[in-house]
């Protein structure tokens, strides 16, 4: 019974002198496949890399970008760190909350959006900024944010 992520993982493992180093990439692979890191997903990674599953979980929960519950179809990752904050990021949180009914850390009832508050995402010169899934959106305003988000179904 070969795991579905096994093939891709083989290429990843080849990059490192030790299998264990493939843990972060493996978690990404599992997350891409399942949408989030359920116990089963972590167990699968554990078996593939021969890293004990509690260790896998310890690592997976350390990093902010791994998801430990089901998330929406689109993940809004909005920065509220200082450069974004002083240029109005907090107001954007309110707009997202009001418009899509999603709280920071939560998911909208229709499963369309999850909202994650981010630390600096390296777009401070064009603040406020967000990542939706893997797309950067910068120089956000109270107006354009809605237009942008409407592009995600």
């Amino acid at each position: 019974m070969k795991s579905q992520i096994a093939d891709e993982l083989e290429c990843v493992k080849a990059k490192y002198p030790a299998e264990r180093a493939a843990l972060l990439p493996a978690l990404y692979l599992a997350q891409r496949k399942y949408g989030w890191l359920s116990a089963e997903a972590m167990d699968e990674v554990s078996r593939e890399l021969r890293v004990p599953k509690a260790t896998v979980r310890g690592v997976a929960t350390f990093y902010a970008m791994y998801r430990h519950k089901q998330v929406g179809r689109n993940v809004i990752q909005l920065c509220t760190n200082v450069s974004c904050m002083i240029l109005g990021a907090e107001r954007l949180v309110d707009i997202i909350r009001e418009k899509y009914g999603v709280e920071p850390g939560g998911t909208s009832a229709d499963g369309r959006f999850s909202l994650v508050i981010m630390e600096c995402i390296g777009a401070c010169g064009t603040a406020p900024a967000m990542l939706v899934n893997t797309d950067f959106h910068e120089s956000l305003t109270q107006e354009n944010i809605v237009t942008i988000l409407e592009g995600y179904r």
């Binding site: 493939a22 843990l23 990093y63 970008m65 990752q77 600096c120 995402i121 390296g122 401070c124 603040a127």
Partner: protein, 419 residues
């Protein structure tokens, strides 16, 4: 000044290897491969190149330590974790000028006799991952890197390792742990990574910008390089400016340019004609400066003499509309969120600071809170495992030092006086 790190950056195809080659790309590598590794290290020492990751450690010295260690293989790791809030200087290199980094790493790999390189890329830069991997493929296809680089008999394999959202992984030993597939807990030092690093082997960790200086440095030679900018700390430097300036963005300027020049000459001054209230000169961990302290030369040697640090060169400019208690609180939220949890003072102390600040900001400050903040910060300072916790304490101490009034006012008026 000639743009070095950001050359070609306005060309929409700047990430293509052809564009890079057209402007002399990979010539430095060719030249360097003809030099003995130790001669390159000597050159770097002479040029007085200092690490651009934040601490400004002399790169040549670090390389010498690593080079002297008899163990092989050695690993060269590029720190592309760029997590210090306010910092976005490495991103244009990663996304728009990847070949300068690859060439820089190949030269450095040769100098260090390291045959394996990793770019530790923060998870928040998903686009850069694809760009870097494509650039690596191109460079390999052209024989610049990989086995037998340009027929030199030297090998250099390069791979991208993606982080997953942890500021602490910018700290080099935490980064190495993370590269090995572990949590980003900093390691006990000594031993230092140059002796015992990734997988127990000598490992050199350098910032993106540091490594990207190499093609230029090798092209012009140490003397010409050292002639740029500050005497004590020369070279081109990326400054990333955000906040209330007219023209925020990344600027490549000589080391030693003053903060005032950056804000007023290069970035067009404060937005909407407002007045400057405070500047964080080198990323959120560096001490905040009031408007009367901005005539400081921005380099690793001189900034500490002016009460702050160069850090990552991330200048955050704040005008009169900003509540500094709120900024301080936001900074502490960041540190609390990013504390790895390993050591007591950072894990529990920083959280305590944040909680007190939150109370003050929320209008529930009490007399004595500021003294409490100072004492708690004092109990953290100098006792943490790594600089993150110290940085958090220093943020609080410096905000209080320069803007105590604003804190007092919050407590007295039970809320923000600016609102």
């Amino acid at each position: 000044m000639e743009k070095v790190l950001l050359a070609n950056i306005d060309n929409p195809k700047s990430a293509e290897i052809g564009v890079y080659e057209a402007s002399g790309g990979y010539d430095s590598l060719r030249k360097s491969l003809e030099l003995a590794p130790d001669d390159i290290i000597e050159t770097v020492k002479k040029a007085n190149l200092r690490g651009r990751g934040g601490a400004g450690f002399p790169t040549g010295m670090k390389w010498m330590f690593a080079s002297k260690d008899p163990k092989f293989p050695k690993y060269l790791v590029c720190n592309a974790d760029e997590g210090e809030p306010g910092t976005f200087k490495d991103r244009p290199i990663l996304e728009k000028n990847p070949h300068i980094l690859i060439e820089g790493m190949a030269i450095s790999g040769h100098a260090l006799k390291a045959e394996f390189g990793y770019i530790y890329l923060r998870g928040e830069y998903p686009a850069a991952k694809g760009i870097l991997e494509e650039a690596i493929r191109q460079a390999e296809a052209k024989g610049y890197i990989g086995d037998n680089m340009m027929g030199s008999g030297r090998n250099f394999k390069l791979a991208v390792h993606q982080g997953a959202g942890a500021y602490i992984c910018g700290e080099e030993t935490a980064l190495i742990e993370s590269l090995e597939g572990k949590k980003g807990h900093p390691r006990i030092k000594p031993p230092f990574p140059v002796n015992v690093g990734a997988w127990g082997m000598p490992t050199i960790v350098n910032n993106v910008e540091t490594l990207s200086n190499m093609p230029f440095l090798m092209r012009v030679g140490p003397e010409a390089y050292a002639a740029i900018g500050s005497k004590e700390c020369p070279g081109p430097k990326l400054f990333c400016v955000s906040g209330h300036v007219n023209k925020p963005g990344v600027y490549e300027l000589p080391m030693g340019v003053t903060l005032r020049e950056i804000i007023y000459d290069h970035c067009g001054g404060i937005k909407n004609g407002k007045t400057l209230k405070a500047v964080i000169p080198g990323g959120i961990s560096t001490p905040v400066l009031p408007p009367d302290k901005i005539d400081c030369p921005m380099d690793f040697v001189n900034m500490p003499k002016h009460g702050s640090m160069l850090g990552s060169g991330a200048v955050i400019v704040m005008d009169e509309s900003v509540c500094l208690v709120k900024v301080c609180l936001r900074a502490l939220k960041f540190f609390e969120h990013e504390s790895c949890g390993k050591c007591t003072p950072c894990r529990d102390g920083v959280s305590w600071l944040r909680q007190v600040l939150a109370r003050i900001e929320g209008g529930e400050g009490r007399p004595g809170d500021i003294e409490l903040l100072s004492e708690v910060a004092g109990n953290i300072t100098g006792k943490t495992f790594c600089p993150l916790g110290d940085g958090a304490a220093s943020v609080v101490l410096n905000f209080i030092k320069h803007f105590r009034d604003e804190f007092d006012m919050h407590i007295a008026r039970k809320g923000c006086p600016i609102k």
